[in-house]
């Protein structure tokens, strides 16, 4: 009864866009169950030990003979905890391969490569032959109920990829490629932070995972693969001010690889650290450091206001 109440409380106190509760993925659901079970168990154990301690501190005459006390230590302090811990360990160990299952590469329905950058996420969707189909940034669109293989990389420093609603985290370490299998089970939008301290704006390195139906996902994917430029004219300001040196927009001759790919910018929910509004975009280009201290993108105080507005117009219209 108390356990049920407690778990209800835990769950209600803990749901949210970035919560490990209210899971929307296979791995996250399995871990959620484990957390609830162990948390309830831990609460009971704490209650027992604390009661004993308070009782022992309050009795004013001695309760135990020496032998009783020895037996109390042997059973209460050793045998019972050992048995419980062993049971818990065994349960957790046997559940590990099921919680984070491992498949052969061919068994993947979709392959994605995510690279941690200071302080944003480079996302590449791969085609069936393992080559890059297209690139995007900071927003991860995923089909529901599909087995997705995510390769995790980093070039500069260590980052950690974590979307609590879908599953546990996995580090992105320069020189290594880690693999994480995700299987979203619920449509929705979920937030994920970088979970390894990666520098000044570590706090602002966030990712959004958007889980959609397979049909929606396919439509979006085909759209991205067959991308054509929206407006050659409006891109002129973008070109003139050197943006393509770092940024790419698919279907145009902007092919910079240093910064995030800006294709279909209009659809982006966030500018990494702030909402994707015209005003924010204007200020972000002026001085990215205002939004993300320590960002690699330099400030551009020299771009005339009209030019800057033209760039903003262009990006805001880029679908």
């Amino acid at each position: 009864m108390a356990a049920a109440l407690l778990s209800t409380f835990l769950l209600s106190a803990c749901t949210g866009p970035q919560s490990v509760f209210g899971a929307a993925g296979r791995e996250a659901s399995a871990i959620e169950d484990l957390i609830v079970v162990t948390a309830v168990g831990a609460a009971c154990a704490w209650f027992i030990v604390t009661s004993l301690l308070i009782y022992a501190g309050r009795v004013r005459r001695h309760r135990f003979a020496e032998e009783t006390a020895q037996r109390f230590i042997t059973w209460g302090g050793v045998v019972i905890p050992t048995v419980l811990l062993f049971a818990l360990l065994s349960y957790a160990l046997w559940s590990m391969p099921a919680t984070r299952p491992w498949f052969d590469r061919q068994q993947a329905d979709l392959e994605i490569e995510v690279t941690g950058e200071q302080y944003w996420w480079r996302i590449r969707y791969l085609n069936t032959s393992g080559d890059v189909a297209f690139e995007t940034a900071n927003e991860l669109k995923l089909p529901v109920d599909r087995r997705i293989r995510v390769s995790l990389k980093a070039n500069d420093v260590i980052h950690s990829f974590w979307i609590p609603a879908l599953g546990g985290k996995m580090d992105m370490i320069p020189g290594r490629t880690n693999t994480l299998w995700l299987e979203p089970t619920r449509i929705g939008s979920y937030r994920g932070p970088c979970a390894e301290f990666c520098g000044t704006s570590h706090a602002l390195m966030t990712l959004t995972a958007i889980v959609m139906t397979m049909e929606d996902f396919e439509t979006w994917r085909q759209g991205r693969i067959n991308k054509s430029p929206t407006s050659a004219d409006a891109g002129a300001a973008f070109q003139r001010n050197g943006c393509p040196a770092c940024h790419a927009i698919d279907g145009t001759d902007a092919k910079g690889l240093v910064g995030p790919n800006l294709t279909a910018f209009k659809d982006r929910l966030r500018l990494g650290a702030a909402a994707n509004t015209r005003d924010n975009l204007f200020r972000f280009i002026r001085d990215a450091g205002e939004f993300k201290p320590g960002a690699q993108m330099p400030a551009f105080p020299m771009i005339p206001e009209g030019e800057l507005n033209a760039i903003v117009d262009y990006l805001a219209g880029e679908t």
């Binding site: 871990i31 009795v59 260590i158 301290f197 570590h202």
Partner: protein
């Protein structure tokens, strides 16, 4: 007591003895006061300094909490925030949690063991000054906006990126290496002190539990700190000279640092926790007014935890992508370590139930600490399960967990210890009323601050974020945490006020105000001599079971009641049964220790700023001071072979070999040194493991020169062993010739070891393979260089008549060094020469 009659024949009066002792043990006055080396004094300085560092780090924590009180706050800049949390963690771990126990141990152990003094008071003083200088250097950096800002774990490549981390990372690496030297010095002092300086009769089954714990903890320091020192060396070589140990582009791997750091980092948690539980093991029996039940269980728990804690390090790396089965081993060990931890809590409860608990402030803090600690222990059991850690790792859930463990398991017991032991410092108790107010503020403030963090963490709040958006559902948790943090800080402020408020109007209390049973309560706060005379111990709780003991000790009715020859003396006893074997003369007041610490500090500071000339000058000064210290303070042939220590017992004044404390200190230091070396060798094989061809097709040092070097080092070893034995046969000249031969062979061996990588032109900046080979070779060569200095020292001692056939401590200890040097040479040359050839 028959011993009492024996003493009556002594001609000197008790007052005269006391006058002698007071004169010999007096601290110097004026500015020279700071050259004191008495452990009681050093312990107090050490504790006060560590406590100040704690308050400093606490203020940083309050700044962090203030910044996080509301979402999107701009109280602190991102960069300052990153410096603040890095320094908070670093200072709490390295400058408070570990040193405070070295301090408490150095302060308490002499009277607790019934010793005048621990065997190496000058080493303690050196350790303290190193700690102070290093600590000020590290803490001061934040006032120049130059503090380390990469987290206390210093993960490369972020921390090797000079543009990001600036000089802060160097300050961290070098400042803390300096402090680690101090910690290892303290470990040597504690191990030798506890094993060899107990009062006669204090067999290992009589040892106060505090001593048992400290023995284990000091042993753990010996094995846990050196891997970090090895890591620091690799790290600095990369930052300073571009040797690519952690640079994936040139064959390095950032994960090696994580392994080395956490091989240190996890035992560290238990190094902090066990001494606090040790304080509890002293406090609980006193307030239950009965001996502890389950003495052996506590010993089991201490030793068991000490071992198991070395099998947990990868649980800090559960998300790095290592194979699940590797993670599972560490998960299993992490669950197993909960067993001995739980035993200790049940021992305390059993003891309380078998006695009759007297309510008191120390028990309040102790019990409250346990209640908090159990929460941390249980969340620890949770996150030790790999899947839970995949979610909880690097979130505020972990922040909550570690603070429950460390504050419940360490800070509360320390405050309990302050309230309990304060009468030993000042002969007066602290205020009961203020203690209770402080406790309730701290206890409630702590839980208000840290319990909500569990929920914030499960709601996905990552650690080390300087800000967070309003729409994720963390704002209320953070606001509550901040309020709690300030309540908690108020509680600590009250403790500080209680300790510092003037108490001279308060009457002096009785000597043993809590009616404790253990020996430290014979200590007299006004006296420096540790114990007036060294008693014979017949019980675990001698003050309860040996009637009249206090009086007999104070009247000088036991061993060493005076200081006839004017030296500081204590007894050395055997390890298991504490039978007296030597009367040891320990070092007295000296300015050499403080100068050595300053010179060594100069070396580390100068390296940080790449002032190479100053580095060399300071290193030379350090060498000179250390040699001066050894020459004037150690292995001095006494004026007579034996001395009457009282009660009809006569003991030698000079022993060498395993019976002597110096041999043990050398042995223990070399074990630590060997562990650091082993960590470097681990690095070599680590690179072999992760690469298909770890040489990357580059030329190695070849087979010839390493084998030549090996032969030369082996011959040098034989010559040294021979020198030791001919010296015992009074063939002084042959000894000198042999030592000289060994010296030449060592020089040649060092040159041959260098020849391998030099002649094949291995470039350490090109790839990690040449870099790791060079590090191993340089390690060997620098140890050989130290060996040469030792040989020269032995020759000089021989020429000045301080090293003779019967007084051969120096030579025996140097030969012991040679055993280790030979193992180092064998391993190094085998690994770099034979291993690539064998593949």
């Amino acid at each position: 007591m028959s011993s009492v009659e024996d003493r009556d024949q002594t001609p000197i009066s008790t007052d005269e003895e006391e006058r002698q002792l007071r004169a010999v043990w007096a601290n110097p006055s004026g500015w020279r006061y700071w050259t004191s080396v008495n452990n009681t004094q050093i312990g107090l300085w050490y504790a006060a300094t560590a406590f100040l560092f704690m308050l400093f780090a606490g203020v940083l924590a309050l700044l962090v909490r203030a910044q996080l009180a509301v979402p999107e706050n701009d109280l602190l800049s991102a960069d300052f925030f990153n410096q603040a949390f890095t320094l908070h963690g670093t200072v709490m771990m390295f400058l408070f949690a570990v040193p405070i126990f070295e301090a408490v141990a150095i302060f308490l152990l002499p009277p607790m063991l019934g010793a005048r003094e621990l065997p190496f008071p000058r080493l303690s003083a050196f350790g303290f000054w190193s700690f102070l200088l290093g600590g000020v250097f590290v803490c001061g950096s934040i006032f120049f906006d130059a503090a380390p800002n990469t987290g206390w774990f210093m993960y490369p490549p972020l921390a090797t990126d000079k543009q990001y981390s600036g000089i802060g990372a160097d300050i961290w690496l070098l400042g803390l290496s300096f402090i680690e030297v101090a910690s290892i010095a303290a470990a040597v002092e504690l191990i030798v002190g506890i094993m060899k300086c107990r009062a006669p009769g204090m067999r290992i089954n009589m040892m106060p539990l505090f001593a048992w714990y400290l023995l284990i903890v000091a042993g753990m320091i010996l094995f846990a700190f050196p891997p970090l020192i090895a890591g620091d060396i690799l790290f600095e070589m990369e930052r300073m000279f571009d040797w690519p140990f952690f640079d994936a582009g040139r064959g390095g791997d950032p994960l090696l640092w994580q392994h080395l750091f956490w091989i240190f980092g996890h035992p560290e948690v238990y190094i902090i926790f066990l001494p606090a539980i040790a304080l509890m093991a002293m406090i609980v029996p006193t307030f239950a007014q009965r001996p502890i039940i389950g003495y052996s269980w506590i010993v089991l728990a201490a030793v068991g935890t000490g071992f198991l804690s070395f099998g947990l390090w990868v649980h800090h790396m559960f998300t790095t992508g290592l194979p699940q089965i590797s993670l599972a081993f560490f998960s299993a060990a992490s669950e197993a370590v909960a067993i001995p931890t739980g035993v200790q809590i049940f021992v305390f409860i059993a003891t309380m139930l078998a006695g009759r608990v007297i309510p008191s402030v120390p028990m309040l803090f102790g019990g409250g600490g346990l209640v908090i600690f159990v929460v941390g222990g249980l969340t620890g059991v949770m996150v030790a399960l790999v899947p839970i850690d995949w979610q909880a790792h690097d979130t505020y859930f972990i922040v909550a967990h570690l603070h429950y463990v460390l504050i419940g398991g360490m800070l509360f017991p320390v405050v309990a210890g302050i309230y309990y032991y304060y009468p030993l410092i000042n002969a007066r108790k602290l205020s009961d009323r203020m203690g209770k107010i402080a406790f309730w503020l701290m206890f409630s403030g702590f839980n208000i601050a840290f319990f909500p963090m569990h929920f914030a963490g499960l709601r996905g709040m990552p650690r080390r974020v300087f800000t967070y958006p309003a729409d994720v559902g963390w704002d209320w948790f953070n606001m509550i945490s901040t309020v709690g943090a300030f309540v908690f800080a108020t509680g600590i402020a009250i403790v500080v006020v209680d300790v510092l408020r003037p108490k001279h109007r308060q009457p002096k209390g009785e000597a043993n105000p809590w009616n404790a049973g253990t020996l430290e309560w014979i200590s007299e706060p006004e006296e420096n001599w540790g114990v007036r005379s060294i008693p014979i111990i017949k019980s675990r709780y001698p003050l309860w079971d040996q009637p009249g003991l206090r009086d007999d000790i104070a009247k000088g009715r036991f061993y060493l009641p005076g200081a006839v020859e004017g030296y500081r003396e204590t007894l050395v006893t055997s390890v298991l049964d504490a039978e007296p074997i030597q009367c040891l003369r320990v070092g007295g007041t000296s300015y050499l220790t403080i100068l050595s610490a300053m010179a060594l500090g100069g070396v580390f500071v100068a390296i940080t700023f790449h002032w190479w000339i100053i580095t060399a000058l300071c290193a030379a000064a350090f060498l000179a001071f250390v040699i001066g210290w050894l020459w004037t303070g150690t292995a001095i042939p006494p004026e007579k072979a034996e001395k009457d220590v009282g009660l009809g017992l006569s003991l030698p004044l000079y022993v060498s070999g395993p019976a002597s404390v110096g041999w043990w200190a050398m042995f223990i230091t070399l074990v630590g040194d060997g562990t650091a070396f082993g960590s470097l060798v681990f690095g070599y094989f680590f690179y072999w493991t992760i690469h298909d061809d770890f040489t990357a097709g580059l030329a190695g040092p070849g087979l010839k020169w390493p084998l030549v070097a090996l032969g030369l080092f082996a011959s040098a070893w034989i010559a040294m062993v021979a020198a030791r034995s001919v010296n015992r046969g009074h063939r002084t000249r042959d000894m000198r010739v042999l030592v000289l031969c060994a010296l030449m062979l060592t020089l040649l061996g060092g040159a041959a070891a260098l020849a391998g990588p030099l002649l094949t032109q291995m470039d350490p900046t090109e790839h990690v393979y040449p870099a790791i080979v060079w590090v191993l070779v340089l390690w060997l060569v620098s140890h050989a260089a130290v060996g040469v200095v030792m040989q020269l020292y032995c020759l000089a001692r021989s020429f000045f008549g301080r090293l003779t056939a019967t007084h051969d401590i120096d030579l025996v200890n140097v030969v012991l060094y040679w055993h280790f040097l030979t193992i180092t040479a064998l391993t190094t040359l085998g690994v770099i020469g034979l291993f690539p050839a064998m593949r």
